[in-house]
């Protein structure tokens, strides 16, 4: 049983050997990209009626290119988006929100 387990571990290690340098370079590249990120946060005033609207915004804006963080408040009627300015801008995000059927009035932008 132990021998079998050892064989499996060795086989997995051998399989991973050629992949690991690639993975480590990817991690390094990712770290470098993070350093270069120009994060900005924008707050949009909107009109959401229910939790389904929140769900719709979350399901769509979360995956817009360059979006790093998203907070949707039903209570405050705001959509707060943190994005990488190298990849997108507030106007593009606003257009995405409007395309979903909700107004997006920019009320605040912060550089991070």
């Amino acid at each position: 049983m132990e021998k079998r387990l050892m064989r499996i571990i060795v086989a997995v290690a051998l399989l991973l050997c050629p992949v690991l340098p690639g993975v480590s370079s990817l991690v390094e590249a990712d770290a470098a990209a993070k350093v270069q990120k120009q994060l900005q946060t924008v707050v949009f005033k909107t009109h959401l009626h229910c939790e389904n609207c929140v769900k719709k915004v979350m399901a769509n804006i979360s995956y817009v290119k360059g979006v790093e963080d998203l907070k949707v408040s039903l209570e405050k009627q705001t959509i707060t988006v943190t994005f990488n300015a190298n990849k997108t801008d507030a106007d593009k995000i606003a257009k995405e929100i409007v395309d979903l059927g909700y107004p997006a009035i920019k009320v605040n932008t912060q550089q991070q």
Binding site: E51, K56, E68, L100
Partner: protein, 721 residues
């Protein structure tokens, strides 16, 4: 502003739907309409912000909610699989042949749990054994499991609780949703859903739902000579409509169609691919020179149509009435070895409700309801006395009744729901069904619940115990063989089963504990006591006895714990202990066989920011069950099950890869009976003789298949402005 009119009107309707989730004691149709109440938005917000699986804080009856995120934690190809990470509900196979899944709630068979589809009773009678497999998981938006004695509004059939299914809504702003998945056992699932809003004013909307699934290859992982899962091809179609008038009148109606064909049992080992080799006609002829393979074939077909009409009676919609109607036709054509069972069930249901919520603290609901079930069954099976037994019962079971329910709410502190039904049962006369629910929250962090009442249901002996058909044992009725002096056996009639259930729950919330404010610890205790029940007793090696036990009860205790220790990392742990006993005449009070004494479930979920990657891990430990006497008593072993899934979400689509039963545990010796003789065994892989009346393929307590790997994709197209 006109631009945003449609989304707002859709949201309004969605909010009504959510209100229905939040108030299980309230019928959907009346609640949904009555719109512009202050609590509506609050209720909706809470519903969506809880854990993917968890206890609802706000419901009066102890209710576990599995929302759409919870349904995505596992493969969840169908409803039965959706309960794998719940300790409240235990899922198992009815037998080793048909693939029928049965659930247990409070230690009792799933037939004692009232299934509701958006608060309409469903999956009754003939539909019960396979019904769970016929609800595609991707069609659902949430499931609510209410334990104990819920509202009287949907009839008195609930004994251990209610499971309500909420489907994708016509008002969902998703014109196209597609889900396709494949499993290593060759199971393929394809689902499509489309919600369309047909006019700018939001008056008309519709949802079209489609599902195709199949098992196209055979496996015999435990080498017992029969297929672990039957070959299967199923198709489901549904179309649901919503009309919402400016006056507040709301009409919902829909249709659905189902066809499912499956064949299981022995395969011919001389072929490379394992195909079911059973043929009823060949098997019946009994040609001793030919190899005769045992097995089963099942064809289930059904159609269903329903409507719900809600009419507000005053301007703020706090007084309203609703009419709910449902019609279904179900056909089952099946053969198991030499046994033939063909049956049809035509059912109609009508519910007329009036609801008054004009006073904030006092709500009243009253109504009348009627149900008719027309069964036409043909059952033929070899019996030692008087040889073949063919019964062709035609039953008309009618229930007509009136009901009333009073709800008192003292803000969020205290609520009381007292309900009473008076129903006339066509075979049994008048019966009263009282039910009471109390909820008390002395402080915000503690919720106490008490719940109790009566439940009554007509049994459907052969389909309630579909596993009996996967045996060749002789059927007895109340300890006697079917004969001229015992011509109307219990298995061919519908006993009105009668029970009482009482229970309580305490839930403690720990707002400062963990990264979120929704940590809780919950204790439940529920006791179900039958005053009349129909049971199939499998303890003898050669007979199955359908009888009414002298005493039957099930006590259940459960602990649930939920915490989010780190941001986006959740832990859900739950443990259930069951003490189910039955007193069969002459045998005394004994542990109910094949009911696991305990089950523990641990679910860990971690999601990266914005849920781009979601990792799920579920482990369960399944306690021992008492084995049948003919197997020498004793108990089954304790076994673990592991599930894992990785989901990657992207804009508009997600992909997932997962594994089930990662410990590769399978039940050995599923088939019980007398060893097959050498002459009969030639050209067959089966080890026991299905022609001797000791054969039993229903003794299933664990998984039949080992590791299963699956992968799938979900594509969601959201509505744009």
């Amino acid at each position: 502003m006109r631009k945003y009119f449609l989304p707002i009107s859709i949201c309004t309707l969605c909010t009504f739907d959510m209100l229905a989730f939040a108030l299980p004691q309230t019928p959907v149709d009346t609640a949904l309409i009555y719109a512009d109440r202050k609590d509506t938005l609050t209720a909706a917000t809470f519903t969506a912000s809880g854990p993917a699986n968890g206890l609802s804080k706000f419901k009066d009856v102890r209710t576990e909610v599995i929302n759409s995120a919870g349904l995505c934690k596992m493969a969840c190809c169908n409803l039965a699989e959706s309960f794998e990470n719940s300790a409240s509900v235990t899922v198992g196979y009815s037998d080793a042949v048909t693939g029928a899944r049965q659930i247990r709630l409070l230690g009792l068979s799933g037939v004692y749990t009232q299934m509701l589809e958006e608060n309409r009773p469903a999956m009754r009678g003939l539909a019960a054994p396979f019904g769970l497999s016929y609800v595609p998981g991707p069609w659902l938006s949430s499931i609510q499991i209410a334990k104990g004695s819920p509202s009287v509004i949907n009839g008195g059939e609930s004994i251990t609780g209610q499971i309500n299914l909420e489907y994708r809504k016509p008002t969902d702003e998703i014109p196209l949703f597609v889900n396709a998945s494949i499993m290593s056992d060759s199971r393929i699932d394809f689902n499509i859903a489309s919600s369309l809003q047909l006019d700018k004013q939001g008056h008309w909307s519709t949802a079209i739902l489609g599902h195709v699934c199949g098992n196209f290859a055979g496996f015999d992982m435990n080498s017992d000579g029969i297929l672990d899962d039957p070959r299967q091809l199923g198709i489901n179609l549904a179309n649901r409509w919503l009309y919402y008038a400016d006056s507040g009148v709301q009409l919902r109606f829909g249709f659905s169609f189902l066809r499912d064909q499956r064949a299981g049992g022995e395969y011919d080992p001389s072929f490379n691919s394992k195909k079911p080799a059973y043929n009823y006609d060949t098997y019946l002829k009994g040609d001793s020179t030919a190899t005769r393979f045992w097995g089963s074939t099942i064809l289930n077909q059904s159609i269903n149509a329903y409507f719900k009409l809600g009419i507000p009676l005053n301007t703020d919609n706090s007084r309203n009435m609703a009419v709910v109607g449902d019609f279904s036709d179900y056909f089952m054509n099946s053969a198991f070895g030499k046994t033939k069972y063909d049956a049809s069930q035509t059912s109609g249901f009508l519910n007329l409700l009036f609801q008054d919520q004009t006073l904030q603290a006092h709500h009243f609901t009253a109504g009348v309801s009627g149900r008719i079930d027309h069964y036409n069954e043909m059952f033929a099976r070899p019996m030692p006395t008087p040889g073949w037994k063919t019964v062709n019962p035609i039953s008309n079971l009618g229930i007509v009744g009136i009901f009333g329910e009073y709800t008192f709410h003292l803000e969020d502190k205290f609520s009381l729901i007292a309900g009473l039904r008076g129903d006339w049962y066509s075979n049994d006369g008048w019966k009263a069904v009282p039910r009471l629910t109390l909820k008390y929250a002395p402080i915000e962090q503690i919720v106490l619940r008490f719940n109790g009442g009566r439940g009554l249901r007509y049994s459907s002996p052969l389909t309630d115990n579909i596993g009996t058909l996967s045996t060749t044992k002789t059927f007895k009725s109340a300890h006697e063989y079917v004969s001229a002096t015992n011509p109307s056996p219990l298995f061919a009639s519908h006993t009105l089963e009668d029970s009482w259930v009482f229970g309580g729950n305490i839930t403690l919330y720990f707002p400062g504990f963990g990264a979120a404010d929704n940590s809780y610890l919950s204790f439940d205790c529920f006791c179900t006591q039958f005053t009349k029940q129909l049971l199939a007793i499998y303890d003898s090696s050669t007979t199955i006895d359908f009888c009414n036990p002298k005493r039957s009860f099930s006590n259940n205790y459960q602990v649930d714990f939920f915490v989010e220790p780190l941001k986006r990392f959740t832990i859900m742990a739950t443990f259930r202990y069951t003490d189910a006993r039955v007193d069969i005449f002459g045998l005394g009070l004994r542990e109910r066989p094949m009911v696991s004494k305990y089950k523990g479930v641990l679910n860990l979920q971690y999601a990266t920011n914005l849920k781009k990657w979601v990792f799920d891990f579920t482990a369960s430990v399944n306690g021992p069950c008492r084995l049948y006497d003919y197997l020498g008593g004793g108990t089954t072993p304790v076994y673990p099950l592991l599930y894992a899934q990785v989901t990657h979400n992207m804009k508009g689509w997600s992909i997932y890869l997962g594994g089930e039963n990662l410990t590769n545990f399978t039940q050995k010796d599923v088939l019980q009976g007398t060893a097959i003789s050498e002459s009969k065994a030639q050209g067959r892989a089966i080890k026991v003789d299905p022609e001797i009346n000791t054969f039993d393929a229903s003794c299933v307590w664990g998984p039949l298949m080992g590791i299963k790997i699956y992968a799938g994709v979900r594509v969601t197209l959201w509505k744009k402005d």
